[in-house]
């Protein structure tokens, strides 16, 4: 192990410090040093996009950046989209409603890439969404519902697929589990 360097990084809006070997990737720094395991690692050579985070507002592969390189910079990870881990960002909501995730391993990268995509192009066509997401592999969904979710989020109505989740026909017994929240409730 070589020498450790101290770095200061703003992670999801919070100032953070870490001591890292220069060879520690930003992905490993986030996952192992910051405990932010929502950033996933699927290839470590820049192709799959699972490790995508935003650095200074731009999507980057966190497996191709060393943590020392983001000293004094601003990083947004998937955890930052939902700081309390319960309330969903509209994009997350759209993914939920459109069944845009199966195993969910690609989802954090997809969300952050979509976030940048919609920021830069708030009303994309299907073809633009497909091109914009082409750097993120999903092995499960065939992309159909991911594309639909992003288009829906762009339209601003992250709804429609179904809102039947526990549609309040049955009465709750005392102490029933909280339902998984539907979009309407969060919005």
């Amino acid at each position: 192990m070589s020498e450790l360097t101290t770095i200061s990084v703003t992670v999801n809006g919070e100032p953070r410090e870490g001591r890292v070997e220069p060879r520690r990737s930003l992905a490993d720094f986030l996952r192992q040093d910051m405990g932010l395991t929502g950033t996933h690692v699927g290839c470590e050579h820049g192709v799959c996009g699972a490790c995508t985070v935003l650095v200074n507002g731009r999507s980057v592969r966190s497996c191709l950046l060393f943590a020392v390189q983001v000293n004094q910079q601003d990083v947004l990870t998937v955890e930052g989209l939902s700081p309390d881990g319960v309330t969903l960002h509209p994009l997350q909501q759209a993914f939920h409603e459109h069944h845009a995730l199966q195993c969910g391993f690609c989802t954090p990268g997809m969300l952050l890439t979509s976030l940048e995509l919609l920021r830069d192009n708030p009303a994309p066509t299907e073809a633009e969404v497909r091109l914009g997401l082409a750097g993120n592999l999903c092995m499960c969904t065939g992309y159909v519902n991911i594309v639909r979710a992003v288009l829906a989020a762009a339209d601003g109505h992250a709804a429609s697929a179904s809102t039947a989740a526990g549609s309040e026909t049955a009465e709750s017994p005392p102490g029933a589990l909280p339902r998984f929240p539907t979009g309407k409730e969060i919005a």
Binding site: E3, R61, L65, E116, L131
Partner: protein, 295 residues
């Protein structure tokens, strides 16, 4: 897949960087966007003892359009170059080429200089540099030089850059108004390195004949190459379909592609001809006859 250990420097200015590059010239490496270098390090195919990170040097980044040239600092992100108004207007060929590079997240980090210095024979930017007769500006602690694109690449991932030299900027000559252009490629998937890439620039004289033609190809040999025979055949001719076809037909004989798992050498040779013909056709449609540029 973790890289071997290395020491890290983040110089703040060019002299500091040049001095580090010189000190570690035997086994250190410059890191720009890292989009080519870091995968190699993660696979431990590259094991630099030190990385000299040039991303923090403000003077290496930026786009300057003056005197008929557009100069792009080495660490300018590919994405910034591709979307820059001066590039879009004055170097549409370059902007078009950048749209073929990888994906957004790659372009967000990858640099113009990094791609040129890396010299992958299937990369887009070196092909455009060659088509536009770009000049590579290079510095070392004790001097600087300018290298024409045609002399820059020596072979697969090798250039004339010495180990203690830094590429600081690439300067592209702006083609005459009314030039037609086209960048095109065939790749296995969207965003992949090209099997064959073609950059074409065409100007028409007042008579509607080809005034000048520049055709560069990538993926067809160890370095990007110009299709000299085709260019010569075009100049002075009316760019009719048969003329474009005849020019394209000469390309196959000029190139020296190799086999790999994605494409055989003869398929690449064939693609080169097809792509050149199609790119010429597009460039012709985009070109204006001299004097009629604004029509």
């Amino acid at each position: 897949m973790k890289p071997a250990a290395f020491g890290y420097f983040a110089p703040r200015d060019l002299p500091e960087a040049l001095s580090l590059v010189s000190t570690y010239s035997s086994d250190g490496k410059v890191i720009a966007g890292g989009q080519s270098l870091v995968p190699l390090m993660n696979f431990r195919l590259a094991r630099p003892s030190h990385l000299i990170d040039i991303n923090g040097i403000g003077s290496l980044s930026g786009i300057d359009a003056a005197d008929g040239r557009v100069t792009i600092g080495a660490t300018t992100r590919q994405r910034d170059a591709g979307t820059h108004p001066d590039v879009k207007v004055q170097l549409p060929l370059l902007a078009e080429a950048i749209s073929y590079i990888g994906h957004l997240a790659i372009q967000n980090r990858g640099t113009v200089g990094g791609s040129i210095a890396h010299a992958d024979p299937a990369a887009e930017l070196p092909v455009v540099a060659l088509a536009l007769d770009a000049q590579m500006h290079v510095q070392r602690t004790d001097g600087q030089r300018t290298i024409p694109a045609a002399e820059f690449s020596l072979g697969y991932l090798t250039t004339v850059l010495e180990a203690d030299e830094l590429l600081t900027a690439t300067s592209f000559g702006v083609p005459p108004a009314g030039s037609g252009w086209c960048f095109s490629e065939v790749a296995r998937r969207h965003g992949d390195f090209a099997l064959v890439a073609v950059a074409v620039l065409l100007t028409l004289d007042a008579a509607g004949k080809v005034g000048s033609a520049s055709i560069a190809l990538g993926g067809v040999g160890p370095v990007p190459m110009r299709a000299g025979a085709a260019e010569r055949l075009l100049v002075g001719e009316a760019p009719t379909d048969p003329v474009l076809r005849a020019a394209a037909d000469t390309v196959g004989a000029d190139v020296e592609p190799e086999d790999d798992i994605h494409a055989s050498a003869d398929y690449r040779r064939h693609l080169a001809g097809v792509l050149v013909r199609r790119a010429l056709t597009t460039a012709r449609a985009r070109a204006a006859v001299a004097g009629n540029e604004h029509v």
